[in-house]
């Protein structure tokens, strides 16, 4: 209870004392005033009856039942009492109502309620700081995946939106600045169920402060922070223990991957898309002249990637210093886009200004001069989604989408991220082979990904690696239908992590070892059935040996005796 109760009691001291005093005086007075008893003889009202009469008059109920008719002296006193006590009640009730309207009190009450609910959470949850475009999208995605959420935002109107938003389970939300350590503590950062803290506030400095605070408060918890500037990104990466996502650098990096190795990007998009999405088109970025409209943090990141891939570019930016060496042109866009001699010969345009209207008209002007130009467009606001879609760009950058994508990958299947990193460094043939294999074994829709851990603390794995050690437990067994081992479930093993070793695309007969972590993609059904290999030694024995050992003690004993007899 703490704060709220004490705050309420402290504020209500004066009205309560007034009320008690007035009651005391009224009751005492009424019991002392001369009256008449049941026989009409002079007598006094008892304290109990006086309290009863005062109780119904003071609250203006006016019940009217009295033990005996009043004497005039009693009537005089009751008249006085009515006026005084009604005023006292009005004062007390007014104070209570004023208190519940009081902003400080309401905040304390909301905070108290929030803290209590967070403490009562006994399932895994995520803390998201910042409920803007990216924050709300990530919250909805995590909610759809069945996770509990704790949301923090300093803006009351954003938190109000949460109450009417469509969530499967209502998130716990608080209007508070997540940079304050006590806010993170109340949000449950110390809870054993806290999975991760995600900092998605609008400003880099806030996310930096949240990430560092969270890291100090609970070094064991996963922390993901968005940073838009290179300096902030570098700072947090140097700090360590925080996973930093820079949306511009990430997008530029992906463009670089697409330039070098489009198959890898296609596979990456497909494997990390929402389950069931068909395989996206292969994006073949042109390697000719690029026009970059907007040369801020985003444009610079793209320019660096283009430089590294040996692609020529020219940037337009209003107000920037002209720098001919790097192809940077000072410009207000409008004039030169229409008349720029380079436009007609350019292969691609990147409309990356931070105003959607600018990006749209730049695209239109460029297409007028060069109808076949490849368009990469940046969408800044969710509200402009329809407009940007209507521009039919070849590639669209939506920051919130990218953030959700990246965050989910880090939070839900970190192993898939590690697999994709390996893939980028590998030959494009590996990506093609992977795509083919996943398509053959799991179907056309994008699969979901999970990690199977050969954890020998689980009874099934204990049986597989120690009790039945003479039968090697292979990757193929993990995709065998538990009830009919001859049948194969849909699903593909993409990678095995064994200590610091990694096996990409393991063959079906690869023998597993205790402690192996296997990355699978496939339908969720496969994952559910696969769990039986962890929990049921009988199932493991069945797929390995074709016999199921007796479960109960009596039958085990009989079984052993029979074996002994034979």
């Amino acid at each position: 209870m703490g704060d709220v109760l004490f705050l309420a009691l402290r504020r209500l001291r004066a009205p309560l004392i007034t009320l008690i005093a007035i009651y005391g005086i009224s009751v005492g007075g009424l019991a002392l005033i001369p009256g008449l008893d049941a026989q009409g003889q002079p007598g006094r009202m008892s304290i109990f009856h006086a309290f009863y009469v005062i109780s119904y008059t003071a609250t203006t109920i006016g019940f009217g039942e009295i033990p005996q008719p009043f004497s005039d002296a009693q009537r005089l006193w009751v008249t006085f009492t009515i006026y005084v006590s009604v005023v006292a009640w009005a004062y007390a009730l007014g104070s209570v109502i004023a208190l519940t309207n009081n902003a400080t009190f309401r905040n304390a009450a909301a905070r108290h309620m929030f803290t209590r609910r967070v403490r009562a959470l006994n399932e895994p949850f995520y803390i998201i700081c910042g409920y803007g475009q990216s924050g709300s999208r990530l919250a909805h995605s995590l909610d759809r995946l069945g996770n509990r959420l704790v949301l923090l935002d300093p803006e009351p109107h954003r938190v109000d939106r949460i109450a009417i938003a469509d969530f499967a389970t209502a998130p716990l939300a608080l209007v508070a600045d997540a940079r304050l350590a006590d806010v993170l503590e109340d949000a449950g950062i110390h809870s054993p169920h806290c999975q991760a803290v995600v900092a998605l506030a609008g400003e880099d400095s806030i996310n930096q402060a949240v990430a560092i605070g969270a890291r100090f408060l609970n070094p064991a918890v996963q922390i993901v922070a968005r940073e838009k500037s290179r300096v902030a990104t570098a700072n947090l990466e140097a700090f360590g223990g925080v996973q930093v996502i820079n949306p511009f650098e990430t997008f530029a990096f992906n463009l670089g991957v697409a330039l070098r190795n489009p198959e890898v990007l296609q596979l990456e998009e497909w494997l990390t898309a929402e389950p069931g999405t068909p395989c996206p088109q292969l994006i073949r970025l042109p390697r000719g002249q690029w026009i970059l409209v907007g040369y801020g943090r985003f444009g610079r990141a793209i320019a660096d990637v283009l430089d590294r891939s040996g692609v020529k570019w020219k940037a337009l930016e209003p107000g920037a210093m002209p720098n001919v060496d790097r192809g940077l042109v000072h410009d207000d866009y409008s004039a030169s886009i229409a008349n720029d001699p380079d436009i007609a010969s350019a292969d691609a345009i990147f409309a990356g200004a931070d105003v959607d209207a600018v990006n749209l008209w730049v695209t239109t002007l460029a297409r007028r001069a060069n109808p076949d130009i490849f368009v990469v467009i940046r969408q800044n606001h969710t509200q402009d989604r329809a407009l940007v879609e209507a521009a039919r760009a070849d590639v669209t950058f939506v920051q919130s989408e990218l953030m959700v994508h990246e965050c989910l990958q880090l939070l839900k299947t970190p192993m898939l991220g590690r697999f994709l990193t390996r893939l980028r460094d590998a030959d494009s043939a590996v990506a093609t082979a992977t795509k083919q294999r996943v398509r053959d074994e799991s179907g056309e829709g994008s699969p979901s990904a999970w990690t199977f851990e050969c954890d020998t603390m689980q009874p099934g794995m204990f049986a597989a690696f120690f009790q039945l050690a003479q039968h090697p437990f292979r990757v193929a067994h993990l995709v065998a239908e538990p009830t009919q081992p001859a049948e194969r479930m849909r699903g593909t093993a993409l990678m095995i992590e064994r200590g610091s070793d990694v096996i990409l695309l393991p063959a079906a007969d690869t023998a597993l070892r205790p402690g192996d972590r296997v990355l699978f993609v496939g339908p969720p059904m496969t994952r559910r059935l696969q769990r039986r290999y962890l929990t049921e030694p009988g199932t493991v024995s069945w797929v390995l040996t074709g016999t199921e050992p007796p479960h109960s003690w009596v039958f085990r004993w009989l079984h052993q005796r029979m074996r002994g007899a034979v």
């Binding site: 209500l12 004392i17 005093a21 005492g28 019991a31 304290i47």
Partner: protein, 148 residues
């Protein structure tokens, strides 16, 4: 947090004053605590079984003053403040129980007070007196510490 924090709250009709001579809040606070104790004592004193030695008006006054003393201690989160509140709550509950026994005997069972019931009422108020004495001891201890 200072030790005398319950003296700095807002008590009706007073403002936190740092006068060298009289702190009205301390006067009010001490007044109600000691008044609660003395009224309680006044009701308690006398032969345990003789109803005529224990006047109902005195019990009423004791209940009212005890309730006020309890409310005065609301909202103080220091260790001393919460102990103060606890003693007052005990005293108020004991006195209310004593009044209830009285009302029950006279108006629900409709029998006059006899020695047994009077003893029950007065001993309940005796418990309240003990709690009130603790309150006074706490007040004195605190005052002495402030004085040095």
């Amino acid at each position: 947090m200072s030790v005398d924090i319950h003296h700095t709250g807002n008590i009706p009709g007073s403002s936190p004053r740092r006068s060298a001579f009289v702190n009205l809040e301390k006067v009010i606070f001490g007044f109600f605590i000691i008044f609660a104790c003395t009224l309680n004592f006044g009701f308690f004193i006398g032969d345990l079984e003789r109803a005529e030695l224990h006047h109902p008006m005195e019990l009423l006054a004791a209940v009212v003053v005890n309730l006020i003393a309890t409310v005065l201690k609301f909202g103080d989160r220091t260790h001393l403040g919460t102990t103060h509140l606890a003693t007052s709550l005990v005293a108020s509950l004991q006195l209310l129980a004593a009044s209830l026994v009285w009302v029950w005997r006279l108006y629900v069972t409709q029998l006059p007070l006899d020695g047994e019931v009077t003893a029950a009422i007065v001993s309940l108020s005796g418990g309240a007196l003990l709690a009130n004495l603790f309150s006074v001891i706490l007040l004195l201890g605190e005052t002495l510490r402030q004085g040095r």
